[in-house]
């Protein structure tokens, strides 16, 4: 009797210890993740004197929005923000549509060459995008669809390279999105489909009425990934957009470059450059944090239903 009680006490201690270790680890890891963000917020609200003063680290003596104003102006924020938002929304919406369709086709129809096609989808993922970059660049510069067009057109500097690759599910890491959507649609019960078939619904009616509503949370996750990657993208944008660089990532880079130059001539202190830079970075990340805040419950609650698995 006594030993049983002692044993129960021991397991209780063990449980407490396990949860203590768990919390300690979670807090430590959370700190590492949040630190860069946390450090930017107070520093972006400081004035130059506070930034130079080593005693002031977390709490500015006086909160100012001047850095945000300066960054706003230097980045030409209203214009670059709008351009970036327009491009990103276009790209992520089109990619969501095309990858959902392709994923559904691969998941639910056993046509000839299905597994070969799925293999090709995965193949597009493992090839470094840099490898096809220059041939692609030249193809878009002299775009003629294998000589079908009479005179090649130059698509660079427009949104067309983004639109065309997004519509066809060959944009940045679209193989990953197709893979996610295929997994989701594969996991749906065949009875649903059969019932629709019996009711006389064609493949498209089945898709839109029966299958699509069940794939909502996975689609939101695909949308989020696509949005985030496009928002952050600088590699493909440099390639496709050529000279017109009125987009947020370039604007953010511009701040750094301007300050780098003026720093070399000792026109500004590095502390000042840093606080304005931090304000600019926060303004760049803000939309991502907002969209993550809105969509995070789909990550957190329904992971098991998203189908992101092997």
């Amino acid at each position: 009797m006594r030993s049983l009680r002692a044993k129960a006490r021991l397991t209780r201690y063990k449980a407490i210890l396990v949860s203590l270790v768990r919390y300690a680890l979670i807090i430590a890891i959370s700190f590492v993740i949040l630190y860069p963000l946390m450090a930017k917020i107070p520093s972006s609200l400081m004035n130059e004197a506070d930034a130079i003063d080593r005693m002031v680290r977390w709490i500015p003596s006086q909160i100012t929005l001047d850095n945000f104003r300066t960054a706003f102006r230097m980045m030409n924020y209203p214009v670059t923000f709008q351009n970036s938002l327009k491009l990103t929304l276009t790209v992520s919406t089109l990619q969501l549509v095309s990858c959902t369709l392709v994923g559904y086709g691969l998941a639910r129809f056993q046509f000839r060459g299905n597994s070969l096609l799925f293999g090709l989808v995965l193949f597009t993922l493992i090839v470094p995008p840099q490898m096809v970059a220059l041939p692609l660049y030249l193809n878009l510069r002299y775009f003629d669809v294998f000589g079908l067009l009479k005179k090649p057109i130059n698509l660079l500097g427009t949104h067309w390279p983004f639109i065309l690759t997004s519509v066809t599910g060959t944009g940045f890491r679209n193989g990953f999105f197709i893979y996610i959507m295929r997994q989701v649609f594969r996991g749906m019960p065949a009875d649903l489909e059969d019932a629709a078939l019996v009711d006389g619904a064609g493949p498209f009616a089945t898709f839109f009425r029966i299958m699509l509503p069940g794939a909502g949370s996975a689609m939101l996750i695909v949308f989020l990934f696509s949005f985030v990657w496009q928002w952050n993208d600088i590699f493909l944008s440099t390639l496709y957009l050529g000279g017109s660089l009125e987009y947020l990532p370039f604007a953010l880079e511009r701040i750094t470059h301007i300050f780098y130059e003026s720093r070399r001539e000792f026109l500004v202190s590095y502390q000042y450059a840093s606080i304005v830079n931090n304000a600019g970075m926060l303004m760049f990340i803000a939309p991502l944090l907002v969209i993550y805040g809105v969509l995070q419950r789909y990550f957190v609650e329904s992971i098991e239903r998203t189908g992101i698995k092997g």
Partner: protein, 302 residues
């Protein structure tokens, strides 16, 4: 099911299945135009010298000269290449181990689980892209890390190094410790999606398996190796592939930046593409090895 019914069902299925082509058609077109064709061209380019002319470009076939020049003429390619492969061999397993561990941490029932998950997946949003790039290569950031905002935060290397020197540890050991510790934030920030994949995998393991195991008197250790780990092998493969794919566009991928510089400024595009091809070959063979190791031992629960 009768033969008759089966036959008519089959044709119906077949008819239905051909509708699948309509759904995948966009990808087939895009694959041909924006992937396969440039991919094939990149082979040709790597064997040629490219000259930009007013009407377009000219190619002169030069055989394997570009490969030769990349490997033996360019003094920096081989070290950068090997360095990148080496750092991948370290970082991919580290990411996998960490994200598996983090997924186990987040999987149980505990208070604040929602908040912990929100934070752990935050790198999915923040980890990629320009902000990290600017921080990485920003001279200001380096100065700030050495002294300024970053100080006293526990992850600045300078303080720790001093402390270790005080302890009179061998210099080599100090370097290893500091490098490893400084690498931790990177590993954590690169693990967002991998944690997501592992966590969804963990949640798809049915509870009855564990219950059956407990009835047989298995310890937690045995349960992990007999149930959790084997059922997670598909996710391990997914995550290896994803981590490698992710490293192509990572801001700290020295090799990709080197290739970019070679192609657009240095020895020319042909040599740059030849370098890309060698990189791709190395990655392809690494993936093949991973598949050979884990693919055969993969367990699916259907």
């Amino acid at each position: 099911m009768g033969t008759k019914g089966r036959k008519s069902r089959l044709t119906l299925r077949q008819k239905r299945n051909s509708a699948g082509y309509v759904f995948v058609l966009p990808f087939i077109i895009g694959f041909a135009l924006f992937f396969l064709w440039p991919f094939a061209q990149s082979i040709i380019f790597s064997l040629s010298e490219l000259e930009i002319t007013r009407e377009g470009y000219d190619l002169h076939f030069v055989g394997f000269t570009n490969y030769y020049r990349a490997l033996f003429v360019n003094a920096n390619f081989l070290p950068t290449f090997l360095g990148q492969i080496q750092s991948m061999l370290i970082s991919v397993p580290s990411i996998l181990i960490f994200s598996f561990f983090a997924a186990l941490l987040l999987n149980g029932e505990f208070k604040g689980r929602w908040l912990a998950r929100v934070i752990f997946f935050l790198p999915v949003v923040m980890g990629a892209g320009i902000v990290l790039q600017l921080e990485k290569f920003d001279y200001m950031y380096d100065i700030l890390r050495a002294g300024g905002f970053g100080r006293g935060a526990g992850i600045g290397g300078a303080d720790l190094k001093l402390l270790l020197y005080e302890l009179k540890l061998p210099v080599v050991l100090i370097e290893v410790i500091v490098t490893a510790l400084e690498g931790i934030p990177d590993i954590i920030r690169k693990s967002g999606i991998q944690i997501l994949v592992f966590l969804s995998g963990l949640q798809s393991i049915p509870a009855y398996l564990y219950e059956a195991c407990e009835m047989e008197g298995a310890t937690g250790w045995e349960k992990f190796w007999l149930i959790t780990f084997p059922l997670m092998t598909p996710m391990i493969i997914t995550n290896v592939v994803y981590s490698i794919v992710d490293s192509f566009t990572a801001v700290d991928n020295e090799l990709v930046r080197f290739i970019h510089k070679t192609a657009f400024g240095g020895m020319g595009y042909g040599v740059g593409v030849a370098m890309s091809w060698m990189y791709f070959a190395a990655i392809g063979s690494m993936l093949a090895v991973v598949m050979a190791i884990f693919g055969r031992r993969t367990y699916y629960l259907d």
